[in-house]
């Protein structure tokens, strides 16, 4: 929709944007969320896509995803043979409520910074143990564990004027085995719960990531695949107010689904072990 309070768009920001950040500014990437709802407090948009950051960079340490990498580019990218967790990229893109047309513009960083419980790029990067590189307006840089970035529904650790530059996924996470489950109230709708389990090759551990059903991502590490009781206790230990209530699900149902799908993930990874 038209954002009628916007008076200026910085279409050619400097390489280190944000030095003249002021109230009423917003970073613009794909714009697919920003333009989808009223933004009466915004006056100026700063276009990050103009910086032409390389969308995807494969290094010997893993994968770097620029915040402005589009969902389309992420979805279409081929991955090295040994990256068994690569399947999660497509699955996480498919978890968007929005269609492929929105993927043509929407960005990985935009989804993370919007910080919705159901943001699938949050699920993906938390499950794959990513780090986020944040740039402050004063030129300083800090790194945050993906798990710690989102603090609640539409809330994150970004300070005013700070931006997400890139997401780095360590190679060891990309070489893990994975299992995932997702539930939606309508057929291809927004996630009610989205769970991912990962496991080191040849090991019996479990790193369980719980998202969408919780206001912030929850990650639980098990040294070995837990039995049903241990698993359930771990899930029940999640504080009650972290289970999310919105039109896409109720807290009780979300906890119930999380228990159920976590068990299924364990069984799938266990069956994989035997195979």
């Amino acid at each position: 929709m038209d954002l009628n309070t916007i008076t200026e768009v910085i279409r050619r920001p400097s390489e280190r944007p944000g030095t003249d950040w002021r109230e009423g500014d917003a970073w613009l990437a794909g714009g697919t969320w920003l333009f989808s709802t009223e933004q009466p407090d915004l006056r100026r948009l700063i276009d990050l896509t103009a910086l032409r950051w390389e969308p995807l960079v494969l290094t010997d340490k893993g994968l770097e995803i620029s915040a402005t990498c589009t969902i389309r580019d992420l979805y279409a990218s081929p991955w090295p043979e040994g990256w068994t967790a690569g399947i999660l990229f497509r699955e996480s893109c498919e978890a968007f409520l929005s269609s492929f047309k929105v993927w043509n513009a929407a960005t990985v960083g935009g989804n993370i910074c919007m910080s919705l419980p159901a943001g699938p790029m949050i699920t993906l990067t938390v499950a794959l143990e990513a780090q986020y590189e944040l740039w402050a307006p004063d030129g300083s840089v800090r790194f945050v564990d993906a798990l710690d970035f989102v603090t609640g529904d539409h809330r994150n650790v970004l300070a005013p004027g700070e931006l997400l530059r890139r997401i780095t996924i360590p190679e060891h996470a990309l070489r893990k085995r994975t299992a995932h489950r997702r539930f939606t109230l309508t057929r291809l709708g927004r996630s009610t719960v989205f769970l991912v389990g990962t496991q080191r090759l040849g090991a019996s551990d479990l790193l369980l990531t719980v998202t969408a059903g919780t206001t912030r991502p929850v990650r639980i590490a098990f040294a070995s695949l837990p039995d049903v009781r241990t698993l359930r206790q771990s899930i029940d230990a999640v504080p009650a107010d972290v289970w999310f209530a919105d039109p896409n699900g109720t807290p009780d149902h979300r906890r119930h689904l999380t228990r159920h799908f976590a068990e299924e993930i364990c069984r799938e990874l266990m069956a994989g072990d035997l195979a």
Binding site: M1, V9, F100, A105, G189
Partner: protein
Amino acid sequence: MSYIVNGKRFDREPAPGQCLRTFLRELGHFGVKKGCDAGDCGACTVWLDGVPVHSCITPAFRADGREVTTIEGLGKPGALHPVQRQFEEAPGFQCGFCTAGMIMTSATFTEDQKADLPRALKGNLCRCTGYRAIEDAVKGVSAVETAAPGKAVGTSVGAPAGHDVVTGHAEFTMDTHIDGMLHLKVLHSPHAHARILSIDKSAALALPGVHRVYTWDDVPRRRFTTAIHTDHLVDPDDTYILDDTVRFAGQRVAAVLADTVGAAEEGCRRLAVEYEVLPAVFDPEAAMADGAPQLHGSDDPFVRDPVHNILLELHSHIGDVDAGFAAADVIHEGTYFSPRVQHAHLETHGSIAWMEDGRLNVRTSSQSPSIAKVKLEYLFALRPDQVRVFCKRVGGGFGGKQEVIAEDLVALATLDTGRPTCLEYTREEEFTTASPRHPMALTVKLGAKADGTLTAVQVRNVSNTGAYGNHGGETVYAGGAAVMIYRCPNKRYDAYSVYTNTVPSGALRGYGMTQPAFAVESAMDELARALHLDPLELRRRNIVRPGEPLVALHDGPDDVIFTEDGLAKCIDLVGEALARTADRPPPGPAWLVGAGVASSLHETAPPTEHLSEAWVTLGDDLLYELAVGTAEFGEGTSTAHVQIAANQLGTTPSRIRLVQSDTDRTGFDTGAFASAGLFVAGNAVLRAANAVRDRILHFAAAHTGVHVVMCTMDDDGVVCGDRRVSLAELVALARARGIRFTAARKAYGSPRSVTSNTQGFRVAVHRVTGEIRILYSVHAADAGVIINPAQVRGQVEGGVAQGIGFALTENHHVDDNGVMVNPNLRNYRIPTYADIPRTEVLLVDSADSVGPMRAKGMAECCINPVAPALANAVHDATGVRYRALPLTPERIYGRLPAEQSVSAG
């Protein structure tokens, strides 16, 4: 900056925060539609360098230096892109508002995407078709046929506007540019109940571009009802254009008129309003209790009991229900709840007004321009000749546009300023301020003998009319249809229409019958279980049969002609279809499978006054001009009217030029609702066409000396015995004598017929998650003689799809302060392609209709049996009865039989 759109260069700068959608429309590309303005519906899809994007969430400046393609640039009239042709020939549309976006999306599909349409189409919403027709269009399946002269009825001819719809040239309400047009934006109440103490306009009026601020003090102090009926006395006059008391969160507080939408929005933000917040009540039972906050004053005689917020009470009975229950072997009682749901027509409400030759002209998105005109005359004390109201193509209605909720403000502003003005609803305003379906709680008590014979039927209906009474009374009267369907000597129906501090409810497909059908048909299913009878058999034993009286509220004379057993045939067809498909496997071991059915009866026109006039004129261009007031919003009446006229005039639809929904150019028409577009207006068309035919035949007979019984219409001529005279010759001869072949005829919504429907579902319910999957859907309908088979099928499919949305997913979530928390299509989920199964549509042969060509309207009634059939199927699968809609998984899972460990599925 320069922009290339459809190969043409535009040197124009968008506003900094402008989206591509409005920029393209400013440049004249009106094929780019607004459904949601939020990236959810896909109606605005265009291509950027060949890549499809939602233009409403694309910053306009991003198109700088890139090539934009809109529907207008994809193909041209006469030189269609293959996908445009496929959508025209399928036909892959009803109202046509989503069509440009559907085409611009599907024209980019790879073979992989065509093989996975649920995903490929998930960014495109259609509220009309139920998606089967769209799938056919994408896959190139065609249903449109060509009619031979005089044989249009019974042929699936295409809609008259089909070519314009697929090329983006069909004009909808907002698809026009008027120089100097001003824009209105409305400030809405944040409170569910409050008195407005003061409104400080000064800061708003000081803004550049703001012309006026209207408050309750600036409008005619005339109470009216926003509901559209010919007889305005069937609704209470309880509404002001702007009021000094607000009775629901979202109600208009003030309206700002400005040069631009942006300035008007800013004006709204600058208004300083002082409220005295009043206690609010949201639940109708609580509103009826002693001491509840009172919404309305006591000076309106229509309102039955203002102290208890009761708009209308009905108490009717026949026989003696107590004796009936005493004689019963089995009694079932349950309370069934239908929530507040929304039409979600893709074109939002909107109106444009201007003055021309001293007259007020209003271009609007309405189901009844004639009644909208009458209301404006009343509100602004205008003579009938001082007002013209008309509709271009309307982008869906479903009852939502049987309401005057935009025309009043534009008329106010234009009469005040003399300037053209525009008010266009946002999607959020649709949800928070336009009239949704009445939430109803119905307590149904049924008594029956062991063999299933009903001994007593008792229904108590508590309906939430919201803050105002528009349609509040008529919908509870209509609820009697669910009592009428079964023969029983003892019936009792008590109904209450109750004011609460919630958005005013209104007309929605099924109109007060859908909620009672959910209750009564669910209760019948429960009764059948208690009796250990097949639910189909219980219905067969009790449904009214031809020759028996149709008794709902009273046992007296009625105007309904009912001589064939269409309902029994529907029940049999659905029973056979379910039996035929019973051995299909469940999705997996974790799924519980069951089947359910439900039926409904529906009268083919409303019980209130309903009138229509049609004019047919053979022009000098030898085309017949058919003028009829009915608006077209996808229900297909235009096609049917043209077919009826062509059929009677012995010609083809291509020789009929339709003029519609314009109070300057057509006669009066109560409006397109309650199936009357076909039944009442169709009768007027039939009679007018017959009259013109007879005039031509008599003239030809006199001219040739052949007796008129030997004369027949023959496309562009008349055959008189063994001689053929061309229409051209007859028109020339007639003109020389000052004669024109023209006629006007009126029709009235009485007597009426009945339509019947039965829906069957087989569903699977997941034991753990509560997910419901529809495995099979079948719908049988008695649509009488079929005028357009493809359209009838499309209406039924669309009605079933909308019914599935209402039953399974849709719901207004309202917080403790009465504010809706999901007022957008992202969180109020109407079905997508992926959510809707194909429905097998079975039609019953009948000839007892008194409608045109013995046809019966089928757009409305098909929705009524959908929700109960689903609830009954879920009960059959799970053994658990769910008496409150919607049947969302989080409501289902907790009551499922003790969860077993399920190892697979």
